[in-house]
């Protein structure tokens, strides 16, 4: 869950909150889980749903000018400065995508999920998942595969 959340967000700030909220939702929805063997994918789906909401909230906050900035000198992660710059730059580009395309692309290309798993986590059909990934590929252009 933390891995999916971090990869979708690109920064560690809200990861613990998302894990927390995912567990809360999972606990409430547990009776709906019919096959206990599917729990991993099921939790992944909830994680993606919770993270998508966080991304929408962040986008809304940016739009209304309430986006928080990191205080100077407050370490944002354990990455080296070069790696931090790279991740920051990469996610700046990813932020230009539509949220659904971004999520599908990250799950497929960075997280390495199978297409059917991407579709399940995104709550869409296989065809839609493929279309979103292709659209993101096109927008990102020169992405190394």
């Amino acid at each position: 869950m933390a891995t999916i959340a971090l990869r979708l967000l690109g920064k560690p700030d809200d990861v613990d909150d998302i894990v927390h909220d995912t567990f809360l939702q999972a606990r409430r929805s547990l009776p709906q889980l019919r096959d206990p063997r599917a729990i991993e994918g099921w939790l992944g789906t909830i994680t993606v749903r919770v993270t998508r909401r966080a991304l929408h909230r962040a986008r809304f906050r940016r739009l209304v000018g309430l986006g928080a900035v990191e205080a100077d000198h407050v370490p944002t992660s354990s990455l080296s400065p070069d790696d931090y710059d790279y991740v920051h730059g990469a996610y700046s580009r990813l932020s230009t995508l539509r949220t659904d395309e971004r999520i599908a692309w990250i799950l497929r290309r960075i997280h390495g999920a199978q297409l059917d798993a991407v579709a399940q986590m995104c709550g869409c059909s296989l065809a839609t998942a493929k279309r979103r990934i292709s659209a993101a590929d096109r927008r990102l252009g020169e992405v190394a595969r």
Partner: protein, 379 residues
């Protein structure tokens, strides 16, 4: 810029630790719903802001808009001054014919532990002078800001405003620097305010202007001290603990004030000489036992002694924190006392205190550690 998924995969693998897992599990035990209070707070603030704008727009009574802290009330300042409100809403412009301008965009400073500093307006000048694991210093150079500080006893949070400093253990308060004076209003918790020649404790709902008129340093008192005497302090303020410690070792004087003694102790600890901090902390405890920093001095002494393997001494310091009255450090001091007595081999006392802790703080942040001590003792 090429996006390399393999590199991104490596760089976005979280370091998930047992500590983070514990924290999430604790929150899960405490919360049935995901942070509902935040939405309630946002709704309340939004409604309060809307009401203020409406009242101002229709030219209502000015006094409604000026906050008037009432210590007997539970949350007067929150009601009168919403966190992100434009101060221009609180003090209407002289010409009511001029339409209100849009609230300027104010960006809060958000710390990773959840603490936040929200400037009053675009004219407020804030600088993060230090943001380390055990100390955070914010300089308010101009204007005002609301501080919402997450309690972390091992970290000191200080706001500096010229001659006036505010020490925080975990609380919410507002500071305004204006005309050479500083107004401090406490919304939640309590803070210690100090200025040359004095200090005081402000509790929830209280406010004050500092330095108080009677305590303002006279021209004579303001005469500069010999430059060498202040050098260690300047170095410490700059964050150069090593140089400040060397200056102290060279014989520079430390004034017999709790604030100064605590600073000297911090210098010694940060310079890697925790034992050298103990004499300063002892002086705080012996000569300023009523000062608001005294519990922190005892707690820090306990941590240092524990680190040196002097567990009984550490336990006694932690016990002293509890004896000093109800502060936000008491819970942590009790847990640390349990650990110290267990490490000292006094299992009976450790277990008795562990039970005390678990009954008083069943959802406390140190429950797991204390429970482990209890289980180990029973085995």
């Amino acid at each position: 810029m090429m996006l390399d998924p393999d590199r991104l995969r490596t760089l976005t693998t979280p370091e998930w630790t047992a500590q983070r897992e514990d924290a999430v599990l604790r929150r899960l035990q405490q919360a049935e719903r995901p942070r509902p209070a935040r939405w309630i707070a946002i709704s309340v603030v939004a409604m309060a802001a809307a009401a203020l704008i409406l009242v101002w727009w229709i030219g209502g009574d000015d006094s409604v808009l000026v906050p008037s802290p009432d210590p007997s009330s539970d949350s007067p300042i929150v009601d009168a001054r919403p966190p992100a409100a434009d101060p221009s809403l609180l003090i209407p412009p002289p010409n009511p014919a001029i339409p209100p301008r849009a609230a300027p965009v104010v960006t809060p400073l958000q710390f990773r532990d959840g603490s936040a500093v929200i400037p009053d307006d675009e004219g407020s000048d804030l600088v993060i002078a230090e943001a380390g694991a055990d100390s955070t210093r914010v300089e308010l150079r101009r204007g005002g800001a609301r501080f919402d500080v997450t309690p972390r006893p091992e970290r000191r949070f200080r706001v500096e405003m010229g001659l006036v400093t505010v020490d925080v253990l975990g609380t919410e308060f507002h500071c305004l620097r204006e005309d050479g004076r500083v107004t401090v209003e406490v919304i939640r918790g309590r803070v210690s305010v100090s200025w040359p020649g004095g200090s005081t404790l402000l509790r929830r709902g209280e406010s004050g202007v500092f330095p108080p008129p009677a305590a303002e340093p006279s021209a004579e008192r303001r005469s500069p001290a010999p430059s060498s005497a202040a050098r260690w302090r300047r170095l410490a303020r700059k964050g150069d603990a090593t140089a400040a410690y060397e200056a102290l070792r060279a014989g520079e004087a430390v004034a017999n004030r709790a604030e100064e003694l605590m600073l000297a102790a911090d210098v010694a600890r940060k310079a890697g000489h925790p034992a050298a901090a103990l004499p300063y902390l002892r002086r705080v405890l012996a000569e300023h036992p009523a000062d608001s920093r005294a519990p922190l001095a005892a707690f820090t002494s306990g941590r240092i002694e524990f680190g040196r393997g002097r567990y009984r001494k550490a336990a006694k310091h932690f016990a002293r924190v509890r004896e000093m009255g109800e502060t936000s450090l008491v819970e942590h001091a009790l847990a640390r006392e349990v650990e110290a007595w267990a490490a000292a081999g006094d299992e009976a006392r450790a277990q008795r205190l562990a039970r005390d802790y678990l009954s008083r703080y069943p959802h406390g942040p140190r429950v797991e550690k204390v429970r482990r001590v209890l289980v180990a003792g029973e085995e």
